[in-house]
Symmetry: C2
Subunit: 329 residues, 2 copies
C-alpha cells in the first residue's frame, strides 16, 4: 500500500497507534498528536539537545539496509551526540520525515519500528514529529533531548597541553563497512558482515561517556571521523595535538579484510572514516589510571602547544592530508 | 560563492559567527558548536516542544520569497505550534538544513538572517543544528522548544458539547495569497500584496494564546486549514461541531480580490486554505464575556453531541466536501 492511498492523516493515525501502545510515551505530560509535546524534566537538571538530518543517497540508501535499520540508526546517531556531552540521560525524541508520496506505508512503519526499538532500548519517549511529502527521496530529521547535571557535561574545548588523547573502541570499521557496501561485494565473509554491521548499527556509548565525564577535559564523538574529532578538540581548546597512528586500535576484522583487499587502507579508514561513533577525549596524565578503572580506553596521542594537529607513525611524521568526508565538497 | 567552495565546516563557521555575535545565544549553558546544546529551563516549568519540516516545492518556492522570508517563516510556523498549546514562552530552536552543494552561500546566510530576526523578535535562542547536503532541493527542519506551566497548557481534546467555537483573526487570506502566487499574477494590487504577505509572513499569536489559555477548553492553530482544525478538536474531544460559515471573519482584502477573480472562492479558502496560523478554540458560553475582555475573538459555531462536523450557511446546511491540503494525496 502506497502512502498516497491513506494520505497524511491516515499515516499519522497509524504511526500514533504504534507509539501510544508502547512504553515510548512514558514521562510525557502531553504526548504525540497535539500541536506540541509537553514534559517534565528531572529536577535540578539541564536540558541537553541535538539534531541530525539523514538524507537518502547521502547518509543512507534504501538498498543497503532495511527501513527498520535506517530508523534505528537515525536515533543512534543522535543519541551519540548526547553521549558525546558526558553523563547525559536521553529523554525525548522528535521525528521529522519527508518522503515521496509513492513510498510504501510498510517502509514508514519499518522506520518507526526501528525508532521504537531504539526508544525502548535507551529509555526515551517519542514525543512528536512531522510527516510531510518530499519531491524526491527520504529525509529523516531527528531531535534528541536529554537531561544532565552541569557537572556531568564535558565540552569539546577544554583540553590543555600535556593532556593525553584517548579513545574508546576501534577505528576504521564503519568506514570500511561503507566501502564494502559501496563496492557491492557479495557473498560477504563474516568479518565483512561485521564491518558493515558496525556501519549500519552504531552503539551510542552512554556508560562510557558517563565514566569519561568524571575525568575528561574534553569529549566528542567520532561521527565526522577521528581526524576531524581531534581537530575539533584542538581548535576548540586553542591547542595542537600529536597522534601516534600505530596506537590507534584497529579491529582484527578490519585488518583481515584490508589485508585481502588492496584498495582498502586501514589507516586511512581509521583517520577519515566517518560515522564511527566512538568517543574521543582528553585526560590529564595523572587521571589516566583512575579513568582506566572505570572504562576501557586507549591512549592515542597527546595535546600539544601551538595549533597544529600532527600525525606520527612509529616515531616518524606522517604526511597526512585531511580528506575526510565533508558535506558539499 | 557556492557552498561547495567552502564546504560543510566553512559554512558552519560562517553561520556560527552570525549566531554567537547576536543576542540569540542567551539562556544557553552550552551553545551551538558542540555535539549538543545545554540549557536551563525556567524553574517549575514544563518543557514544550514541536518540530516542522519545510520542503522546497511543497511548502515553499525559492522564486516566491527571499531566503530571509523563508527562514523567518520556518521559525514562525513552529512558533505557532507552541502558541497553539496556550501560555507558552519560546526558548530555543534547533535548525536543520539539507541543501544541494550548488546552493549559494548567500542563500543560506539569508535563511539564517530571517531565522535570527524571528529569534530576536520572539526572544528565543538558536541553540544548534545540522547542515547537510541534499541530492536535490532544500529541506528545512526546525525544532522549537519552550516552557510553560502545566496550568497554562490547553490541548486539542478538551471541548464539551455546548462550548462555543471561537477564532482569532480572519480566514482564507493565506490560502488566497498562495493562490495568487501560484497563478503568477503581476502587477499586484495592494490588497493582493496583503494576502501574499499573510501567506509568506505569518504571526505566531502568543499573547492571544496566553489569554485564551485562561478560559479555553481546547485550542489549536489553523495550520492545516480551519476545517481540519475543527475536525481535530471534535475528534480529539469525542464530540461533533456545527460551524456557521457566515460568521467566519473574512478580510476586506480577501472579499475585494475574490470579487475580482472568479475562481477564487473566499468560503473555500476560509475553510480549507492551509498555513493560516490563526487560533481556533472552544470556550464554555458563560466564559465568553470574560474572555472577550482579554482578546478579540469571533464565535463561529459550537460543539455538538455526536461525531459529525456540520456546516451551515445562513441557517441552511452546507454540503461541504472536505478537500483541504493533505500531504501525499
Amino acid at each position: 500500500m502506497k502512502i498516497k492511498e491513506i494520505g497524511e492523516f491516515g499515516l499519522i493515525d497509524r504511526l500514533l497507534k504504534g507509539i501510544s501502545r508502547g512504553k515510548e510515551s512514558r514521562g510525557l505530560f502531553i504526548g504525540p498528536g497535539d500541536d506540541a509535546f509537553a514534559a517534565v524534566l528531572p529536577p535540578r537538571s539541564l536540558l541537553v539537545g541535538t539534531k541530525d538530518l539523514l538524507v537518502e543517497g547521502v547518509h543512507f540508501k534504501r538498498s543497503w539496509a532495511s527501513p527498520e535499520k535506517i530508523g534505528y540508526k537515525s536515533m543512534a546517531v543522535n543519541l551519540s551526540d548526547l553521549a558525546a556531552m558526558g553523563a547525559v540521560k536521553p529523554l525525548f525524541a522528535l521525528v521529522g520525515i519527508a518522503l515521496p508520496s509513492s513510498a510504501e506505508v510498510k517502509f514508514v512503519e519499518g522506520l518507526y519500528s526501528g525508532m521504537r526499538r531504539a526508544a525502548s532500548k535507551y529509555g526515551f519517549a517519542i514525543a512528536g514529529g512531522d510527516t510531510v511529502s518530499s519531491k524526491e527521496g527520504v529525509v529523516i530529521s531527528i531531535t534528541m533531548l536529554g537531561s544532565a547535571k552541569a557537572s556531568g557535561l564535558v565540552r569539546r574545548g577544554g583540553a590543555r597541553p600535556g593532556d593525553l588523547i584517548i579513545a574508546t573502541g576501534t577505528f576504521g570499521d564503519s568506514g570500511a563497512g561503507l566501502w564494502l557496501l559501496s563496492k557491492g561485494i557479495k557473498p560477504l565473509k563474516p568479518e565483512e558482515k561485521y564491518l558493515i554491521e558496525k556501519h549500519l548499527a552504531p552503539h551510542p556509548l552512554f556508560s562510557e561517556a558517563a565514566a569519561l565525564s568524571k575525568y575528561a577535559t574534553s569529549l566528542i564523538d567520532s561521527s565526522d571521523g577521528l581526524d576531524k574529532s581531534v581537530n575539533f578538540i584542538a581548535k576548540g581548546s586553542g591547542a595542537g595535538a600529536r597522534i601516534d597512528i600505530e596506537k590507534i586500535p584497529l579491529s582484527r576484522q578490519l585488518l583481515k579484510v584490508s589485508a585481502a583487499r588492496k584498495n582498502l587502507s586501514p589507516v586511512n579508514q581509521a583517520l577519515t572514516g566517518a560515522e564511527e561513533y566512538e568517543l574521543v577525549a582528553t585526560v590529564p596524565p595523572d587521571k589516566l589510571k583512575a579513568l582506566k578503572s572505570l572504562v576501557r580506553v586507549t591512549v592515542i596521542g597527546r595535546i600539544t602547544k601551538g595549533e597544529k594537529v600532527e600525525y606520527y607513525y612509529n616515531g616518524r611524521q606522517y604526511g597526512f592530508s585531511q580528506k575526510g568526508f565533508e558535506h558539499f565538497k
